[in-house]
């Protein structure tokens, strides 16, 4: 298969997924709404003092982001599995990891990217000092593609199980812990005035590695799931 036709297949899969997602807007909006609700509830529960809120802001935003990514994760391949689209993707002449990458990319565009854009709003609501906003957005920008990719691996593994939701959360959350630690550390560094580039670069490296390997894992898992 030449590059041009592989590229065309990739964009077709992405355009179709985007078109389907735009017809089911609530599935896209719900996880984002969840993050905003969690973030708005915290000041009410903990009290509006900037000292406490500002300190927990990064943690709250990142935990909300992790949980929201689990909310929609089960659906990543579920509809395709139920309506037979997955079989056709497996039978497609295009390399399956490439198509899997397309699905991961669409998932990130609809779940990860909006989180990055929402981050300043959340940071403001939680009174995170402005010094940390840029780094918070940066950690989300490099962290959410990892979330999407790892979620896709888990979703592909559990798609044929019917009710794999709880199992999926148990599978994925431990994998997200390093992400959480380094993202929080990066923002902490920025807040105390030191450079956060070490943590951000490490996260970027992890993201690239995940994006490189995850499509192959997803493809293998999908082949098993349609079996």
């Amino acid at each position: 298969m030449n590059t041009a036709s592989a590229w065309r297949l990739l964009t077709t899969v992405m355009r179709r997924d985007l078109a389907v997602a735009l017809r089911r807007r609530s599935d896209v909006v719900n996880p984002l709404l969840f993050v905003v609700i969690v973030v708005t509830l915290f000041p009410l529960a903990v009290g509006p003092g900037p000292d406490i809120l500002g300190r927990i802001a990064t943690g709250v935003i990142w935990v909300a982001a992790l949980l929201s990514s689990l909310l929609g994760s089960e659906r990543l391949f579920r509809d395709d599995f139920l309506d037979g689209t997955l079989e056709q993707l497996v039978l497609s002449p295009a390399p399956l990891p490439l198509l899997a990458f397309g699905k991961v990319a669409v998932h990130w565009l609809l779940s990860g990217l909006p989180l990055v854009i929402l981050a300043p709003l959340c940071a403001m609501l939680l009174k995170l000092p402005i010094a940390g906003w840029g780094v918070l957005m940066l950690t989300l920008l490099v962290g959410t593609p990892m979330l999407s990719a790892m979620t896709a691996v888990g979703a592909a593994l559990t798609v044929s199980l019917g009710r794999g939701g709880a199992l999926l959360s148990l599978l994925l959350l431990p994998l997200f812990i390093p992400l959480l630690i380094f993202a929080a550390a990066a923002v902490e560094s920025a807040l105390v005035g030191t450079s956060a580039s070490g943590q951000v670069l490490l996260l970027t490296g992890l993201m690239l590695l995940t994006l490189l390997l995850a499509p192959f894992a997803v493809a293998a898992a999908l082949r098993v799931s349609v079996n």
Partner: protein, 216 residues
Amino acid sequence: MSAVIEAKQLTSVRAGRTLFSQLSLQLHAGEILHVEGPNGAGKSTLLRIIAGLLDPQAGRVSLFGQDQWDDPEQWQRQLLFIGHKAAVKAELTALENLHYQALLDGADQVDAWQLLETVGLLGLEDVPAQQLSAGQQRRIALARLWYGQATLWILDEPFTALDSHGIALLHERFSQHLEQGGVIILTSHQPLTWTGERLKKIRIDYQDEGLLYEYR
């Protein structure tokens, strides 16, 4: 003349039950194979194994003398599988479904409107597929048969939910494909119109003493 598709000594065990064992078949250009048998006998399993979606416990399938892993891309191009799940996106309209499906099949010169007319869905192009009837959704899925370049068609219950006009249309398309040297493997509870040399039948039937199948 060499066989288009050849299955050798296929054995499949699902959920601890042997569906078939040592099943061999061979189809040449222009032949249609009707897989018969009661519900749950393993007809769909056989079709999925031949399509390469499922691994048999033993045996192998070759297309034009090649194994699936010799050249997966070429293998997939030669084969068109339509399962009992229609692979139609409920949120998209008939036209969008046809358009994306054609692009994914690598047929970018397809006129989706022409296809709609062929399968009798003109006038319904703007309706999301979830509001169409089961038969109309099946027509969307089967539209692939009109532009596909594949030699081997594997169709699981293609006539389900189709009206008599749709079935006639499909029979006509099958005849064209066979005349052009294509090969069709299908399951159906409908009688087929072909007789004689072209139509081959295989019957899979589960019995207490094990599998019985006859191939003629």
